[in-house]
Symmetry: C3
């Protein structure tokens, strides 16, 4: 537990803090944009932003029985979220929304990589088996977006757009497992794993790669 807290503090206390904040903000922003698209009201906007930013980590912590939650320990980020949300609602217009979505894919990829790597590491510290830890990391990276889509009543994009997203997080998680197995330094492992996920996601975005579809006959139905 101690070690877990330590690693976690490390995650946030060193140079990565800038990226970590970027990641949370990117996730929050994607929730905010999605809520605006569906014309949710102010409350819906904050809830969607908060769920997207903190939902994945909270589910992971519930499952590995880890407290306090990130947003309880670092509750000032909730204030930041409130202020950013208010500012966005005051200034955002529809054309801005469209612009932002594309610009957002890159910090979102950063967030994906970082959350997948740190989630996997936390689960390993909590003595989960390797596959479970990797799934926990993937979950903490992906669940936020899934909850966002459920709140606005759509099939979660992560499950249905045939773009590698969770898959990148899954592969990055295995890098953490590998790193720990060969006794690599934790920091190096974390950075490498996050880097692999980010690179894979970036490559997928740039090449517009799509996962294989269901076999043809399904189409004729």
């Amino acid at each position: 537990m101690n070690e877990s807290v330590e690693i976690f503090n490390w995650t946030l206390s060193k140079a990565q803090i800038v990226i970590e904040v970027l990641a949370i903000m990117a996730f929050a922003l994607s929730g905010l944009i999605e809520a605006a698209r569906h014309k949710l009201d102010a409350v819906g906007v904050f809830v969607a932003a908060g769920l997207t930013a903190f939902g994945g980590g909270t589910l992971r912590d519930l499952l590995i029985d880890r407290r306090p939650f990130f947003w309880v320990e670092h509750y000032y980020w909730l204030w930041v979220l409130l202020l950013v949300g208010l500012a966005a609602m005051a200034f955002m217009r529809s054309h801005t929304l469209e612009l932002t979505e594309k610009a957002m894919q890159w910090p979102d990829a950063l967030g994906l990589g970082l959350f997948a790597a740190s989630g996997t590491q936390l689960a390993l510290v909590a003595e989960m088996p390797a596959l479970v830890a990797v799934l926990m990391g993937m979950m903490s990276a992906v669940t936020g977006g899934v909850l966002r889509d459920i709140v606005v009543n759509e099939i979660p994009r992560a499950f249905s757009d045939y773009r590698p997203y969770a898959v990148c997080a899954f592969l990055g998680g295995w890098v953490v497992v590998l790193g720990e197995a060969v006794g690599l330094n934790s920091t190096v492992t974390l950075v490498t794993a996050a880097g692999v996920t980010i690179a894979l996601r970036g490559a997928a975005l740039l090449t517009d790669y799509r996962l294989p579809e269901w076999r043809k006959e399904r189409e004729n139905r």
Copy 2:
């Protein structure tokens, strides 16, 4: 923990018990009506009623790691719920449904106020920071209705109808924080905070007030 249990028992053991029951019943009833509207079957009706009545408090308790849950400790309310549900299914007709929805807004406002106030207080007892405690209170007041709407596959009304609902709970929660900060008696604080929420919600209902909408340009899209 002890103190937490005590406060909670206090919540239910004094004069408020009548209102508390009204609140749970109002929430359960709103779940039941929503389920009937979507023609869910008997199981769906009970699940919707139960989720609406107990979902918010259960999420709050999961998050602050508090056991036993309300419906485990006071499981006889589950029996009441089953009986009320059976009676409702036997006697309810569509015109009754419409009547009831309007009549229901008032006990629902009572429930909102009480759950927001007691949820915030429980979270403060569990040593959550002020903002977190207020959000926990809001969550315990609002989540039931959100789960109800997700089960019947609609965008949660609390996020999309531009009526102040969660906002009233949020403001009422701050009254609890304020009351505790200045050392007010717990009971007085709870009643005042619940009163503020209920009054705000009541005023919103009477004046038909709506939260500001997204800026005009979104409409032209």
Copy 3:
């Protein structure tokens, strides 16, 4: 806690293991098929299969505060799930999908009965009141399918198809309570309760029985 683990191990270590595996696989398969119908991608297929197979038990364990989760302790089933999912995606075609759904109802009924019985028993061991324990058992049998339907953005079938499903699990749960009350041997109780649920569900499937609908006037609306 010890006792709980023991009973649980018992559940999986004796002759029932074949049926238990059948049940998990049936649930996973139903998630997989539903995901294929909605053309989810590979990630969606695994998530739907995993949620359906493990969602109910995980919710139950979260609520009775029981760790480790099934899929953490027996994580090799996750590997099996991954492999089955990959095989299914490679070989499944639409007509197979339809065939499978009907064939699936029977192992699914087995799963329903077993999960309801063992969930109720675990909750009783965790000292839940009888009604709560029965609801926990029902939840662990039904929640998987509910999550599956929410992920593909449909009103959960268990709440809306007027077929007795949760109701069978509910009645089977009471058999566990009864068995424990009269001091029956745990194994006998479990098998009997599962048998009752399976028989009820089977009878409902064979007779095409439907729960009573809402009163006529609703239709005229």
